[in-house]
């Protein structure tokens, strides 16, 4: 009797601590959110203690999400320019782009840098309304070279400015000139021409439209442009603000049109990144690709010169084809910068044409917002992109910048992926989106 009994006890003691620890960890995972929240509260408390002090500060901090080598280099060069002209030292804290975006709530409520990178759009206005961003109206008094569209994009709900635009990039349909010349393709100006062209490309052994949505956001660009072409800019704004119903016939028509175009898109999009899709365009396997100007990052040398684009063709002649997505990147100021004076100086410099000139010289994949900048250094593609945006009647930011981030990431990403998986059940998908929207927008 005694032997098995002691055996059992002996064996129970063999359990390594790591196994026992797992139990605790699984619980912690569940509670991680709460833990993070408590931390947030504590951090927010700390942030309150230091308020804007004297005006003779010799340094200012800049929180940057420009973590890719090229944009990071551009930020460093712009900041150098500020140092030379003002004598104020800038400490740049660069954080991985996605991490920066995901942590923005905690970051702003903790001890943010004096000046930080952000985007125009709903989220900027939201932070302004919550009192998490500094009023930049006096900076705007010193800025020149910005069109009204940019000023409007920098204005919060209370009519004050909270944002300094630096650069922007349009979304358009990109293609390789050499491929199109060789096959004799013409730039389509209507949806019918686009479908005919797509059918021709298929016959010629090309994938008509490169497509990728592994990360969830590229498909938003397709939705946006179809919505802008079919229902117009104002509807886009109202839909993003939660004022229009997703179950309306107008939205249904967008998805119906998209479903008609899906056979022209590259299949298996949900397992592909935009970089891979861009490479299929670069390798001349795909005929065209709807993406932002940053698609050029996947091209170099002669290939980059071969890259051209056209704006998405007209679908409804009463709406036209003059609106587009052109997200604006720029800078904002923390609610309580350590030195408001230095932060204001830096922001004024960042919005100046000097800073824009440095950017033009160093980054060919973006456009500068300041019209006073010397754009002689633009590539042909940049010049064309600037003309396209200049001629646009309305400029949207992008689905995930124009609406609540919780709606964009937890509702729209799964919904659009669901649609790409199964384009047949449009009304079921839209009913679900509308129900979730009602729940989120009322909270």
């Amino acid at each position: 009797m005694s032997r098995p009994r002691s055996q059992a006890e002996y064996l129970a003691r063999l359990v390594p601590p790591s196994v026992a620890g797992l139990r605790r960890r699984s619980l912690l995972a569940g509670a991680a959110g709460a833990g993070a929240l408590l931390g947030t509260g504590a951090l927010a408390g700390c942030g309150d203690s230091d308020s804007g002090s004297g005006g003779d500060a010799k340094s200012v901090t800049l929180g940057s999400n420009q973590s890719d080598p090229k944009p990071k280099d551009v930020v460093a060069k712009v900041v150098d320019g500020f140092k030379t002209s003002s004598g104020v030292t800038v400490n740049v804290n660069t954080v991985d782009h996605n991490t920066f975006q995901e942590n923005i709530n905690n970051y702003l409520q903790g001890k943010p840098d004096d000046v930080f990178t952000w985007f125009a759009g709903y989220r900027m206005r939201f932070f302004a309304a919550k009192g998490l961003a500094g009023d930049l109206s006096d900076v705007w008094g010193k800025l020149d070279g910005y069109s009204d569209a940019f000023k409007k994009a920098s204005t919060g709900d209370d009519g004050k400015q909270y944002f300094v635009p630096a650069s922007y990039y349009p979304w358009a349909v990109f293609y390789r000139k050499s491929v199109w010349q060789q096959r004799g393709y013409q730039v389509p100006t209507t949806l019918d021409q686009l479908t005919t062209l797509g059918a021709q490309m298929k016959k010629d052994g090309l994938t008509p439209i490169a497509f990728a949505d592994k990360d969830g956001w590229p498909a938003m660009g397709t939705f946006d442009i179809l919505n802008l072409r079919i229902n117009g800019y104002q509807f886009h704004v109202d839909l993003m603000a939660g004022k229009e119903a997703w179950t309306s016939d107008k939205v249904k028509k967008v998805f119906d049109t998209w479903a008609g175009l899906l056979p022209l898109h590259q299949p298996d999009a949900l397992g592909r990144t935009w970089q891979e899709a861009a490479q299929s365009l670069q390798q001349k396997k795909s005929g065209m690709y709807l993406l932002g100007l940053f698609v050029g990052q996947q091209f170099s040398g002669a290939d980059l010169e071969d890259l051209d684009f056209f704006t998405f063709p007209e679908i409804d002649s009463t709406i036209g084809a003059k609106a587009l997505d052109a997200p604006i990147d720029g800078y904002m100021m923390a609610r309580k910068p350590k030195s408001k004076d230095a932060a204001t100086k830096l922001l004024t410099y960042l919005g100046s044409k000097d800073a824009a000139n440095v950017t033009v010289k160093n980054d060919p994949s973006t456009l500068v917002a300041n019209s006073g900048a010397d754009t002689a250094g633009y590539t042909a593609l940049q010049k064309k992109a600037a003309e396209l945006v200049g001629s646009a009647t309305e400029i949207a930011q992008f689905l995930d910048r124009d609406t609540r981030p919780d709606f964009a990431s937890t509702v729209m990403i799964p919904a659009l992926q669901q649609f790409i998986k199964n384009p047949k059940d449009i009304s079921g998908m839209l009913t679900s989106v509308e129900n979730q929207k009602k729940s989120i927008f009322t909270s």
């Binding site: 026992a20 797992l22 991680a32 993070a36 919780d406 992926q417």
Partner: protein, 318 residues
């Protein structure tokens, strides 16, 4: 609420309890000096406070927050109470939830039916003292040592649609990670690969501890290898069997890293843990809603923990 301190408590408490029973109250008081009592109190209090502060307080906060619509911004005083709305939304108004539950169950079934038995079988083989058994042991255990992020990367090289080993060798064009009907199985293979090594090591440790005289006795009685294992060794290993079962359940509940590395738990790879993270940690900040999901996960974990503790305690009484 970890099981380790409890197991220790179970084993550690009986001896003093026995003295109390035989020696009576006065004797026990004499056994413990003042310093002893201070030390004991500290040894109980400190871990208790740590567990409360690091485990139960956040867990209780999660449960509380799941009744609110907090977005993570602003002071705690501004939080609005919304009752059970978040739970209603999770179940009736959140398409990824049902697939996530299904995937968690599938994960449990796959680990339980396939990976765990394979791990146990390998342990039995390695227990036979084969030549090079240390090498096999190391090779099989290696995936457990690697971080899941690295495991995800290794399998990405195998599964990639355009540049992967699998499609390269067999010439197919299956979209292993992108096709929602296929990717969960592809990920389960990767997760199982790792789980097998884990179970193997656990079970091997148990097998090494089985008294050889039991097997000898069985052999003398004319029992075959198979029936010796199933009728003698397996029943003796009951505590280890329970641990293996619990580890399997925990692994399937806390499955997260792999799917997060692959596509952040979307498009066929939904898991409850990934949904919690999507809602709470990212820019979305649906903290109330995410907490509701976390609470559901907590409740499910509690069911398994209760069953486990109940089994262990009942065994002790016997």
């Amino acid at each position: 609420m970890s099981d380790l301190p409890l197991i220790q408590a179970d084993r550690a408490v009986p001896p003093p309890a026995a003295t109390t029973a035989t020696g009576g109250r006065g004797r026990r008081l004499r056994l413990l000096s003042g310093t002893d009592r201070v030390v004991i109190t500290l040894m109980v209090l400190v871990p208790l406070l740590l567990v409360l502060a690091l485990v139960w307080l956040p867990a209780a906060a999660t449960v509380l927050l799941s009744g609110t619509d907090w977005d993570g911004i602003g002071p705690l005083g501004e939080i609005d109470w919304v009752g059970l709305k978040n739970y209603d939304d999770v179940v009736n108004n959140y398409p990824p939830f049902v697939p996530a539950v299904q995937n968690n169950l599938l994960w449990l079934a796959a680990l339980f039916v396939v990976a765990t038995p394979i791990g146990m079988f390998l342990a039995v083989l390695l227990d036979k003292e084969l030549r090079g058994s240390r090498f096999y042991q190391t090779a099989l255990y290696l995936p457990v040592v690697l971080s899941l992020a690295l495991v995800g990367f290794i399998w990405q090289l195998i599964y990639s649609r355009d540049q992967g080993l699998l499609n390269g060798v067999f010439g197919g064009d299956t979209d292993w990670y992108g096709d929602p009907n296929v990717n969960i199985w592809a990920v389960l293979v990767a997760a199982g690969w790792r789980h097998v090594g884990y179970i193997m090591l656990l079970y091997l440790a148990g097998l090494k501890g089985v008294d050889p005289s039991l097997r000898e006795a069985a052999a003398v009685d004319g029992s075959s290898e198979t029936s010796t294992f199933f009728r003698v060794v397996f029943p003796v290993m009951r505590p280890i069997n329970i641990i293996v079962l619990v580890v399997t359940v925990i692994e399937s509940l806390r499955a997260f890293d792999l799917v997060w590395v692959i596509n952040k738990g979307r498009n066929g790879l939904e898991l409850i843990s990934a949904l919690v993270t999507q809602n709470v940690v990212g820019e979305a900040s649906r903290i109330g809603f995410g907490s509701a999901l976390a609470t559901i996960m907590l409740a499910v974990s509690l069911i398994f923990i209760t069953v486990y503790l109940w089994t262990v305690m009942r065994e002790d009484k016997r």
